[in-house]
Amino acid sequence: MRIGVVTFPGSLDDRDAARAVRLAGGEAVALWHGDSDLSAVDAVVLPGGFSYGDYLRCGAIARFAPVMSSIVSRAEGGMPVLGICNGFQILCESHLLPGALTRNDHLHFICRDQRLVIESTDSDWTRDFEPGQEIVVPLKNGEGGYVADEQTLDQLEGDGLVIARYLEVNPNGSRRDIAGIRNARGNVVGLMPHPEHAVEALTGPTTDGLAFFTSVLTTALTSVVNA
């Protein structure tokens, strides 16, 4: 399975996302922000970083990159897309996911090993988890507070679209401890913490993050079987 990893000017975790894809058994394909051609990938990861320096609003400028138009239309057609941190911000800015990510409530950048509970396992990126599974992955952001209006929040919860919630500590003031959400179809997932930094015991706090990347491979297998 070919999984594209997009590099925007200022993307930082693109190599890490590609490494995670490889460790999960997929083929990582580098995508360039300026190309609208998606090189026949089967899924896309929007990695973390500070696209365009995050100077305006995180993800605000990257959203207009040529590659994003192609990703938006393929995502609407069902292609799996995972946005991590800055990638999550870009997905919100692109309106593929509702809400927005705002400045951490304590106003500091924070890097910590974060405990999460996986609440929704029927997305393309969380299939390999058990419902209610607790995991620890790194979190690192300056603008990670998830906000949306009450109605949207209620709807996210009611429809089971919250895929992960913070446990023990809410690190950034996210509404209702939301760490990640998905769209109704389950192919588009946005996640503030960084599963790609928890794929090797040597460099991560755990290897819990790997299941996000194996999930999308499982998704592909299932769809081949079903086809």
Binding site: L56, R57, F64, T102, R103, N104, D105, A148, G173
Partner: protein, 83 residues
């Protein structure tokens, strides 16, 4: 030369941690009766040549799409025609 100022503010219902931090600090540093502080962004855009209807329309669109995020922010746009 035209000067356009775009002010962007978080919507009133969105929590503004920066504004809150400033409010606390103003109080500690001796300003009494601070009821509220909101912190926003201001963009001062200088354009070559004069404003025209086309550019005004593009600006209005970009103020709402790029300079602010309508999910959480409101903007006001002011054109200051310069000599």
């Amino acid at each position: 030369m035209a000067r356009v100022v775009v002010d962007v503010m978080l919507k009133p219902e969105i929590l503004d941690p920066q504004g809150r931090a400033v409010q606390g600090a103003l109080g500690r540093l001796g300003l009494t009766g601070v009821a509220d502080v909101r912190q926003g962004k201001q963009f001062v855009i200088t354009l070559d040549g004069a404003m025209d209807a086309d550019r005004a329309a593009v600006l209005e669109r970009l103020a709402g799409e790029l300079l602010s995020n309508p999910v959480i922010e409101d903007f006001t746009l002011t054109v200051q025609e310069d000599s």
